[in-house]
């Protein structure tokens, strides 16, 4: 079998196991689904309450903010569906499980990403539903560009999310316990992507654009598709279409760092 066929087969088996596990633990699955739903519902409710009291958010209405949120949610949900297991790397390093991936003849990162879990694309389905609703409501310009670029933007956003998680997970090869850092990064991501970044100070806008480019997950693409005047860094609106490139670039950097981490790894001693 060619390498590609092996990868495809492993990946197919991985999803088969995921689905079977979800079917087996139905009650657990339902509770987690409720969790996902309530998590996003409270986030949107909070946005609604703020905008009811403070109607002007740098020119963004609630429907546009919902669109902004749904774009982040799509990218984040795609990341959670495909790449969530990378977050377990620190745990695998601590308990020595990670050694297993080195002795198997398959790309280590691919093995990590195909470690069976109870993953089901429920969040992604919710995200697509919210995105459709928000699109109907916020009325972005829907043309050929929208149809071609939107999926690419979402994939790019997921890659940005994934790359930052991979960077943090790789730190575990040096520091072993990085759970705190992972939690902090997630909190900052969810809080800083919620509002248009133009309400933040210049320094924060620069960080969110160049250093931790979360703004490319939703703010820049949303600005372009909603035809808003971009006033965070006064860039051309078309930068919103760069998200896929930014995602690929982030992934390349993170993957290079991951390779360095793998070479550095000596085991924690067991």
């Amino acid at each position: 079998m060619s390498t590609l066929a092996v990868w495809a087969d492993v990946y197919k088996q991985y999803w088969r196991i995921n689905f079977l596990t979800a079917l087996e633990y139905r009650a657990n699955f339902l509770v987690w689904f409720a969790f996902t739903f309530i998590y996003h519902a409270t986030a949107l409710a909070a946005l609604y309450i703020v905008l009811r009291e403070f109607p002007v958010m740098n020119g963004w209405s609630f429907s546009e903010m919902a669109f902004l949120y749904s774009l982040w949610m799509l990218a984040h949900a795609l990341n959670n569906t495909l790449f969530l297991t990378v977050g377990d790397v620190p745990e695998h390093v601590r308990d020595g499980e990670i050694d297993r991936v080195f002795v198997r003849p398959l790309n280590p990162l691919f093995q990590i990403l195909t470690t069976p879990q109870q993953i089901f694309p429920d969040e992604l389905i919710l995200a697509i539903l919210l995105f459709i609703l928000a699109t109907i409501w916020a009325k972005p310009i829907i043309d050929v560009w929208f149809v071609i670029f939107m999926p690419l933007v979402v994939i790019g956003g997921a890659l940005i999310d994934f790359a930052i998680n991979l960077l943090i997970a790789t730190c575990a090869f040096w520091f072993v316990k990085v759970d705190g850092l992972r939690w902090v990064a997630f909190q900052l991501e969810q809080e800083f992507t919620r509002y248009p970044i133009s309400i933040y100070t210049k320094g924060v806008r620069l960080v969110l654009t160049f250093l931790l480019p979360y703004a490319f997950m939703n703010y820049y693409p949303a600005t372009f598709f909603l035809d808003k005047t971009e006033n965070a860094l006064h860039l051309a609106p078309q930068v919103g279409l760069l998200s896929p490139l930014v995602g690929v670039a982030c992934f390349c950097v993170a993957y290079a760092f991951w390779r360095v981490g793998l070479n550095h790894y000596e085991g924690v001693g067991h």
């Binding site: 657990n28 509770v31 987690w32 409720a34 969790f35 309530i38 998590y39 409270t42 409710a45 909070a46 309450i49 703020v50 009811r52 009291e53 403070f54 109607p55 002007v56 958010m57 740098n58 520091f175 316990k177 990085v178 759970d179 705190g180 850092l181 939690w183 902090v184 909190q187 900052l188 809080e191 800083f192 509002y195 309400i199 933040y200 100070t201 924060v204």
Partner: protein
């Protein structure tokens, strides 16, 4: 006195255990400071673009968020979470054999943990003062605030204990706890002061236990709850303590009978 001694030791051990995770300490203070800065930016932008008279001024809103965030250092800790992990790996069986009160053991372990995190409030506050200006009320108001904060803390502690006890029946409660956490964050007024909620919702939201945890102490701090309402606010907190206290006793009594350790 000798009866108290072991529990004091449990608390001391938990305290030192928390102090060993130095990296975690830095990240939790760091993330708190970033969020203080975030809230300052958000409130400043919102008040700048939206003129009008509100229940809170900009300075009060920033004070509110900062105080709530500092409180979260303590409030976010689930003191009795040890119960769930011990049920999960079965080690709770050993604890039942020891000549101690098991729930008191969990509470003292949690108290040690919380004491350590309460100490973190001091450096966090000092560092936060470099980022934001917070208002300081009269000493009397401050005293009532601390009393209310303590009551709110007890509400949270007992509510979490009840939740943890559910694990006697289901073993898995992580998702349920996260759901309660998100709801508490929103309806407790940790993120958005409850005075900004739609009037219709405000009618009943103050009577929920979530408001008794965060909102009541912070609203006392910023002066929205005035001296003539103190008694009512504190009494409502006390009611929730009693309700969850009774719940905790009942759930422990019925739950702990169900412990069956599988294999080992």
């Amino acid at each position: 006195m000798t009866a108290v001694r072991p529990y004091f030791e449990f608390a001391k051990v938990a305290f030192s255990r928390e102090a060993t995770y130095r990296f975690e300490v830095f990240t939790s203070i760091g993330s708190l400071l970033v969020r203080v800065y975030l809230f300052r930016m958000v409130w400043t932008a919102l008040y700048f673009h939206n003129a009008g008279i509100r229940e809170l001024t900009l300075a009060e809103a920033i004070t509110y968020s900062t105080v709530a965030l500092l409180m979260s250092l303590v409030m976010d800790i689930d003191q009795t979470r040890l119960l769930v992990s011990k049920l999960d790996d079965g080690s709770i069986a050993m604890d039942f054999m020891k000549p101690i009160s098991v729930p008191l053991y969990f509470f003292s372990d949690g108290t040690g943990e919380v004491s350590f995190h309460a100490l973190l409030i001091v450096p966090s506050l000092i560092l936060a003062l470099f980022i934001v200006h917070i208002q300081v009320p009269d000493p009397i108001v401050l005293c009532v605030f601390f009393l209310s904060f303590f009551l709110g803390y007890l509400v949270g502690l007992l509510m979490n204990f009840c939740l943890n006890c559910i694990a006697f029946w289901t073993l898995e409660i992580q998702a349920m706890q996260l759901i309660v956490t998100w709801i508490t964050d929103l309806l407790g007024g940790e993120v958005i002061p409850l005075v900004f909620f739609p009037p219709l919702v405000q009618g009943f939201i103050y009577f929920l236990p979530f408001a008794a945890m965060y909102s009541t102490p912070v609203l006392i701090y910023v002066g929205v709850i005035g001296p003539d309402e103190y008694l009512r606010a504190l009494l409502l907190q006390a009611v929730w303590i009693v309700v969850f206290g009774i719940g905790a006793v009942l759930m422990w009594r019925f739950g702990s009978r169900r412990v069956v350790v599988q294999g080992g």
